[in-house]
Symmetry: C2
Subunit: 195 residues, 2 copies
């Protein structure tokens, strides 16, 4: 009995802690491949092509975008970011699960192209909790926090589009829940190739 690879999409409002959950999750397991983004941003000194990002110039990026080679893409300030479809699909075909951590807008784009993916919404216990988190982080101005709160309220409305909701009330518990979802999905009858 073998099985197909599964695409797990970890998503949620900005500041909810999805990046930390992804890091803790991947630190403990080698049986899942993290998705590698393409970007037009120049590499930093310690960044390797094909490990941290697929680095490319804007012309190449736009060409790939036009050809539909990205599961999602976005412009952040002056840089472009995208999720190469080939990298994800090649892993899935090889029976390897892929983890993609991404914001809500990106997840919705991915869902259109790969609705068979497993979409996990990381939720703050309450909107007020997210406000506190962002304030404590101290990276954002009060104005930008207000903007984030407004967009968080809107983003929360996409929760029903997701397969699972994991409330990040406690980091270790949230990681355990995402791990449980991965293990459970691997046991799903429809994900097994019955011999």
């Amino acid at each position: 009995m073998s099985r197909k690879g599964i695409l797990f999409v970890l998503s949620g409002p900005s500041g909810v802690g999805k990046g930390t959950i992804r890091e803790k999750l991947l630190a403990d397991r080698s049986d899942i491949q993290v998705s590698i983004s393409a970007t037009t941003r120049p590499p930093r000194v310690d960044e390797l092509n094909g490990v941290h990002y697929f680095f490319m110039d804007e012309a190449s990026f736009i060409l790939k975008q036009t050809r539909g080679e990205f599961l999602e893409s976005a412009k952040v300030y002056s840089n472009m970011y995208g999720t190469p479809r080939n990298f994800v699909v090649a892993n899935l075909i090889n029976g390897k699960d892929v983890l993609l951590e991404i914001d809500i807008q990106g997840a919705l784009q991915v869902k259109e192209k790969m609705p068979e993916g497993i979409f996990i919404f990381i939720s703050p216990p309450t909107i007020e909790d997210l406000l506190l988190r962002l304030c404590k982080r101290g990276k954002d101005s009060l104005e930008s926090i207000e903007e984030r709160m407004a967009s968080c309220r809107e983003e929360m409305s996409y929760m029903p589009d997701y397969d699972y909701v994991v409330i990040n009330d406690n980091l270790d518990e949230a990681v355990k829940r995402v791990e449980a979802i991965i293990i459970a999905e691997r046991c799903k009858t429809r994900n097994l190739i019955l011999e």
Copy 2:
């Protein structure tokens, strides 16, 4: 955000180890109610009504059966056994999950009445492994083992009717997988009552 109770049905061929998995699982957690069977078999000295079984005479059992008060029922030798629907439903309404461990025939009856349940098929790694297990257990005659193997082969064909398949190649791993399924199902968006 609250949620509905979920019915988890643990099933599989005879001798696959589903009873042991259930015991290990329940030893570690109090957040799931095991389903209590009704039976016409007389109680043993250490058995309590409403704890180990709901004990009743045959007339009462048949009356309940006629009224559709069992999710499934079966006659084993001269005794009747059944899963009272009310006990299960009352727990689910109270937001409590229920675990029911049962053979394949019973699980198929339950699925007809409560298709919203989560059906978990405990599978031997191979049919040969099950044969070894039954021989080692030493409880069965060679003839009955042969019969069981034949019925196991037939029972394996119901696997696609289940939501999950857990291969019992290692007891601790199998318990972990069933636990993961329980945790994951609790995070399913459709099982949450979004406020």
